[in-house]
Structure formats: structure tokens, C-alpha cells
Symmetry: C2
Subunit: 518 residues, 2 copies
Amino acid sequence: MSAAQVWSVDPRTGKQRGQVAVEATAGEVDSAVRAAHAARAALADRTVRAAFLRTAADLLDEAKDGLVAEADAETALGQVRLTGELARTCYQLRAFAGIVDEGAFLDVIIDHPDAEATPPVPDLRRYKVPLGVVAVYSASNFPFAFSVPGGDTASALAAGCPVVVKAHPDHPGTSELVAAVLRRAAAGHGIPETVIGLVHGFEAGVELVGHPLITAAGFTGSVRGGRALFDAAAARPVPIPFHGELGSLNPVVISEAAAAERPEQIGTGLAGSMTLGVGQFCVKPGLVLAPRGEAGDRLITSLADAVGATAPGVLLDHRMRDNFVQGVAERAALPDVEAPVAPGAGAVPPHDGEAAEHTVRPGFLTVPAARLATAGAHDLLLEECFGPVTVVARYEDEEQVTAVLSRLPGNLTATVHLSSDETEGKGNGAAILAELTPLAGRVLVNGWPTGVAVAPAQHHGGPYPATTSTSTSVGGTAIERWLRPVSYQSTPDALLPPELREDNPLGLPRRVDGRLEH
Amino acid sequence: MSAAQVWSVDPRTGKQRGQVAVEATAGEVDSAVRAAHAARAALADRTVRAAFLRTAADLLDEAKDGLVAEADAETALGQVRLTGELARTCYQLRAFAGIVDEGAFLDVIIDHPDAEATPPVPDLRRYKVPLGVVAVYSASNFPFAFSVPGGDTASALAAGCPVVVKAHPDHPGTSELVAAVLRRAAAGHGIPETVIGLVHGFEAGVELVGHPLITAAGFTGSVRGGRALFDAAAARPVPIPFHGELGSLNPVVISEAAAAERPEQIGTGLAGSMTLGVGQFCVKPGLVLAPRGEAGDRLITSLADAVGATAPGVLLDHRMRDNFVQGVAERAALPDVEAPVAPGAGAVPPHDGEAAEHTVRPGFLTVPAARLATAGAHDLLLEECFGPVTVVARYEDEEQVTAVLSRLPGNLTATVHLSSDETEGKGNGAAILAELTPLAGRVLVNGWPTGVAVAPAQHHGGPYPATTSTSTSVGGTAIERWLRPVSYQSTPDALLPPELREDNPLGLPRRVDGRLEH
């Protein structure tokens, strides 16, 4: 029996581009994990791993043209978007190098002995150590930023953890190219190339999460796939943390006053956000609560104009296109649902060399909010539909808004559009924010959720099913996922790791006897 | 059908003291959780909840005599130990009040807009919000410090989360008394008494972890019970974090040089630690690696003298006593296992009013370390045995130490005893510490693991099965378990919570544009 072949496919034509790998057997997964585990000591030195992350960014920058061309051929996401995504990925690697340098993530806490405490406190020195090999599951929709060199990998390496990445079948060629670049960066700093493992195949992904030497996992993908892997992680003899980003509806509330103040601006902005990247962002606004009445009607008209003028696009693969076409048809067929611009299968090839049968048309649906206020068939509209579609629920009053919001599952983001007066604190803007906060990990005012900044204060996560844990996969605190604390008690300076020595030779920020120092 | 009665039992005599409650039905669990959920807004103000925690400590202090008497009658842990435990519990409540006041746990991070970043960074302001109602599962062996008013409850309330506690059947009367005190403290600050729920019964505990409004759980107990609840938490439609402390062997390594330097001191110290509280501490040293040869023999002799002179004691309940008697018998029957002081059923009543058939005799077993270096029947010696027994594995060389350590599951603590030279950095003390660090959450040099200080740098947790997560149940960072981050994007100051406003009206420590400020 020969190993299953892994092919690169052009989503614009549906044609195979070439075989790039074979699916990993259980034995090959085992070898990759063991080799990564054996390489972990090479990441112990923070100076070395910060330098490694920076070199990885530099080499990815250098290889940009080839990487973007390969990723575009496999994903149809376009050169502009992919060039930006790769730049973001390199920025992220460098940001984590800075975080490694600073060392605040080590959370150093030192307590000197205190005989007066109840019970007495001995000398205690705590910091965080890397967990071990991390499994990273690549996303379909970000061949760079949430895949082989993405936030999970960057934050795990920054924490001192080797990684074994499960490649996404939508971009296996890109995955191989990028892994080779990362390995070259490792080798340049004396780190074994096996610090970055890469495996292909569904079964390999299942093997990976169950491997005894895997200590944690990061995942970006669907609710179904993510939940299956989460369950497998929890069912292990030794359960491991599973940080999965699964699905999000990303509700948007447009206040009456905001709709009255700037209906066209909001309608056009929404069109841009929901069609960006052919609607394939996990933070795409998927449910919009807009008021009934004239202002809301003008908003809908602007939205229709802008969405109607948006070209068809190619989704990442055929399965997604089928799901989209079927998903929007099922939603549009529900009672009282209208489609001012009907989403669905594309009729015309948007660009040279693209086949019409592989494109989809963006569109949106409307429904009375009352239909969503109680359980029923319309609950389908409260499920994420991947692709360029959104649902606008027209509300009569604030009670309907509250009723719909109370029925939503967890989200990555929740947004409110307010009028100028409301943003200044007049009206009930703060009350709406308080209603949105329990629903999401990021709450926006007068913005659109697409575009996830890489920044210390970013939080890309939210109540389940947005994420399976309380952590983030973007931003500086993403590093916390791959660490665990250890306290050393009554340990003489000569035996302590330098991070915990009394004279703070590494100049780390720390808490000493209860006081923050830096 | 009438509700199952909950009886308080005197472990010294095995006699029922009186009925104190009934087991909660599913409906009663639901009511308790809903009432706790409804009370959550009353905990939103940090000033109020810090004051509440301090009042709780004050009222527990005031009620000390009655609480200690009730707890002693139910647990036989003794007035001295229980008085100390209650003092520790009050200290812990006050420590969390201080943590609430300081506000560093909110992890405020603020990024001002940066158009130069890739992608551009909008105004982002992150802090942490309480998860919601927390389920707390009380421990048998700490009727105060790890039960109704213990670390899980104190840290959850400090985070702003109401709690519903599952009482331990070994001290239902104490649980009721303490809950009443906490509720009185709440009422004194205008907080609904339902902020502290209390339920009895095994089935109630299962209902609790599955309740849709429960957002996280804290647990201290056995591997079997904890794993079943962990599995239930993970299998929910919406999984929740389950922070369980399950079991720990707490290995101790005695270096050759340490044994040669102070064999009697180490033997006597070990006897004190393993028999403390009748061996009913989760951090009891359960496996000791001591060298063969004369120094090791002297250590064993001292250990035998001290353990042999230790009075029998009463375990928390009859099931534990049966498990202990059976567990030590099974272990002692293994080939090459010797019992210089045989542990087992007690023959004489240790104190007035105690019945002999309810006591156990402390003791210890020895075994050649080679027996533990490979898998086999002796693996039983690598499982925790609750009660006053430890296993001393005699090693021939360092390779045997490494071989045994490599076979251990995760632990709360790992300890090494070194000679004076070794503590100064001569010899391989640092290498042994490096070997112990992956095994445990707290690593000790020349000390004993019993006695868990309540301090910012404490870490009471470790690789599974020590704990089911990377968090701690003791120390300042225990509060992190009950919070999740939220970022506000482009949100005007007028609508922000005060914790995130530009001028920092609450004077919180924070990270602004990447820089730590306090």
C-alpha cells in the first residue's frame, strides 16, 4: 500500500497543480514529534530564540515573491492580500522576538521568607517554563498568518516550545516552502531543523493530538473539526490544553441614531467588511441588527448598491463553495427572509483564467429581528456561513435587540455603531456595550471587525465556540498558552536559573515581596 | 420519595452526630446556580468585594471556636491543626482583598493607534472580566482552606465570580456553618446571600458541572472523582475550564552526599512530613529516593525510630481507612518490598474517646530502586496512597535515580536534599533540579513539601494528574483561573469602563504602548 498523495490544487480552475507531499503515517507523526521534542533544549536560551524569530522573519521577507506566488496559486486570495498577510506574519514574528527579549511573559514573582505570615512563607521564586512540543493546526484562510509561520507557531517558539504543524490541505505547497524557510532560519542559529515539524493528512492530525509528547495544541478552523480535536485532547490519558478558534457570527448592532446619522456610510462600510477576502474571515460580520424604518432602509440600499457592485470571487476550495451555495440557499428559503442582493454560485469568471463554475457571488439576506428572538427554524441564521454573505435583522425596538443578542453563542467580536451624541455618552451606548461584552472577546465601536491588529492589547478569542479556552491566538498574550509556572522553594542562588536569581542578572520585570518592579 | 439525608459523622467513633442537610435535587442545584448568577452584578465593584472578603475573614475569625469544634468533631484533624487552618484561610481571604485593591490581576493593556504597524493598530484597550458563576468542589482533608471558604472560593469571589460550592460529605456541618458566615459577610455589604451557594450530594456535584450557567470549576480531591468531573466539563455543549487538583506522589531525592552529611536529620524530617496530619496532605512525600549503603541505612534507622514513635491517628472517614489498610497491604506484599515500620490498621486508641478500630498506624516501605526503573507490578508504588505511609526506594547510582524519575507522572512538588557543598553549586545539584523541574509545579531544596505557603510566588499545581490545568489553587495567581480578557477597539473614553480610561482614574498598573507602568 503506497502512502496517500497530497496534491496542490488551483481553486480558480479546480485543477491539480502537482503532488507536493504524502500523508504522514502514524510512524512519521511519531518521528516528527520525537525529533521536535529532542530539539527543545536548543530553544532554552532566550537570546537565541529571539534571534531565530527575527531571522525567520528576514528569510520569509526575502522569499516573499515565491511564497506569495505559490500561496496565490493555491488559495486564489490574490497577490495584494497575500503580500500584506506575509508582511503581517513577519511583523508578528518580530513582535514575539521583542516579547522574548523583554521577558515579562516569564511572570517572575519572588517572595522572601516571612515568618509572620500564616503559615510562614519560605523563600519562593516563580517563573514560567515552556510546556514542550506544541501541535499547530493550520487554517485554510490564512496560508501565512494562521498557518505554518503564523501566530501559534510564532508564540510557541517564543515560549521555547518546538512545534509540529499539521498543514492545511488547501495550501500544502505553501506549507512546505514556508517550513523550509523556518528550518533554514533555525539552522542558522544552531537549532536543529526538526524544531519545526510538518505533517500532512487528516489522520496525521488525529495522531498528532494524541501523541504522548505533545503538550498543547493550537487550532484555527471549523467548529466540527475543532471540537473533534478538542474532545480528543481532553480524552487523552494525560489531557492537554487545546486552544482552538472554531467559529464566530460577529454580531453588529446599528443604533437607531447611528442609522439616522450616517446610513450610507454604514451600509458601504458593512459591504466592504463582509466581502473582504471573499467573506472568508473568521471575524466577518455575519449578523447585523439594523432598525426598521427609513434610515434603516437607506442603509440597506447603500449596502445593496455596494455589495451588488462587488465582483464574484473564488473560495478556497470546492467544498467551501458547495457549502456556501447550499448554506445561502437554505437560509434564503426561510419564511420572511429576503435577498436584496442574492448570494450564490458565480455566473461569470471574475478574472482572466478563472472558471465561472468556481466563483461565488456576494450577497446578503434580511429578516425581521422578531424571527430570531425565539428558537425555531430561523436559528440557522445564527450559525456562521463561511463566505461573502451576511444577515441583516431589522429590529422594531431595543427589546428585540436584547432578545436576539441573548440568543447568540460566543463570538470573537461584537460591534456597535453609535451616533456622535451616543459616542459622547448621551443615550444608551454604554448599556449596549455592556450587553455586547459577555458575547465576545473584542468589542468595537463604530468600526468593522475585519482586520485583527497584531498588538499587545489585542484579544482574538471569545466565549465558546469562538475559542475553546480563555486565551488569544493574536497579540502579545498569545505566548501565555504554551507556558506553565514553576516555583522554587528555598533554593540557593547558585542552583537557581538566572531568571530567578536575587540580583536579577537578566534585568527582568518582576514582582518582589508583592511589589511590581521593572 | 424523600430527599436523601446528609449526616455528620464522627470519624473517631464512626457514629452519626446528626443530620445537617439533605442532598440537593437537580432542581435545587439549578436554583442555587441561577440565584448565584443573578447576584453577580453585586460583585462588580472592586471596592465592595475587597471589603466583603475582609469582612468574611473577620467574621470567620470571630466564629473560630465554634467552627473549629465542629470541624474537629467531623474530621478528627485536631484543634491545633484546624485553628491554624482557619487562620490560614482568613489570611488568604485578606490576601485576595489586597490583590483586588491593587488591580494588577486585571492585566490592563492599552495600545494607542499606530498607523505604521502591519496591519495598522487601532486604539485597543484590554482587561479581564469575571467568567460568571464558579463551581467549587470541596476537599475532604481541608475543611476550611480547600473547602467552602478556601482558595477556590476566595479567588473566585476576588475575581468577581459568585460560587456554588459542593460540600464534602466528610464535613457537611462545618460547610453549613461556614457558608452561613460568608453569607452574613455578603449581606453586610449589600451583596445577595445567594452569591455563595452550597449543595450536598454526589449527584448534585454532577449536576453542577453540567449546568449551563456554570462557567468554570475548581476541584480538590481524588484522581477518579476529579477526572470524571473534568470529563463532564469537557463534554458539555459549551465546555468550561476545569481546574482540578487530583493526585500527587511528591518525589524526594536524597543525594549521596546529603545522606552522608546529615542522615538523622533527613530521616527525622521525612518522618515528620509524611505523618503530618495523619499523612492526609496532597503534598505528602510519597516516594523517596535514598542511596544504598551505610549513610542511607542510618537515614532509614532514624526514619524508623521517628515513625515508630508516632502515635496512630484517625483518618477522615472509614472509606479512606479501608483504602489505606488495603493499599499498604498490597504494596507490602510485592517482591523485595520491606516494611521497617509496618503501616496498617491501628491497634490502640490514640486519644480518649477514639475507638481503636478507627485508627491507622503510620509506617513506611523500602524497595530497591531497580524495581521501579521499568514497568511491572511495582508500578503500584508509583501511585499515591492517601495516609501515613511513604516508600523509600534505595538507589545504587544516579542512573537509577534518573530511570525512576523518568517514569513518574506529574506532581505538585518535587524535592531534593543536597549536601552543603552541593547547595553551593559544587556537584550536580543544578542537574538534579533540572531533572525535577519537568515533574512538578514546586521544586524544593533541603525542605519538605508539606506546608503550602499562601504567597504571591506560590504555585500549587503541576503536570497531570497533579492538576488538570497549568494554573494554581494557592497563591495570588489563583485568581487568573476565573477571568477572561476582553479588548475594546476604538471605544470613546465616555463609554469605557473606568479601568480602561485614558487618565487611569483607578490608578491601575498597566502596559501602555508596550511599556509597563505602575
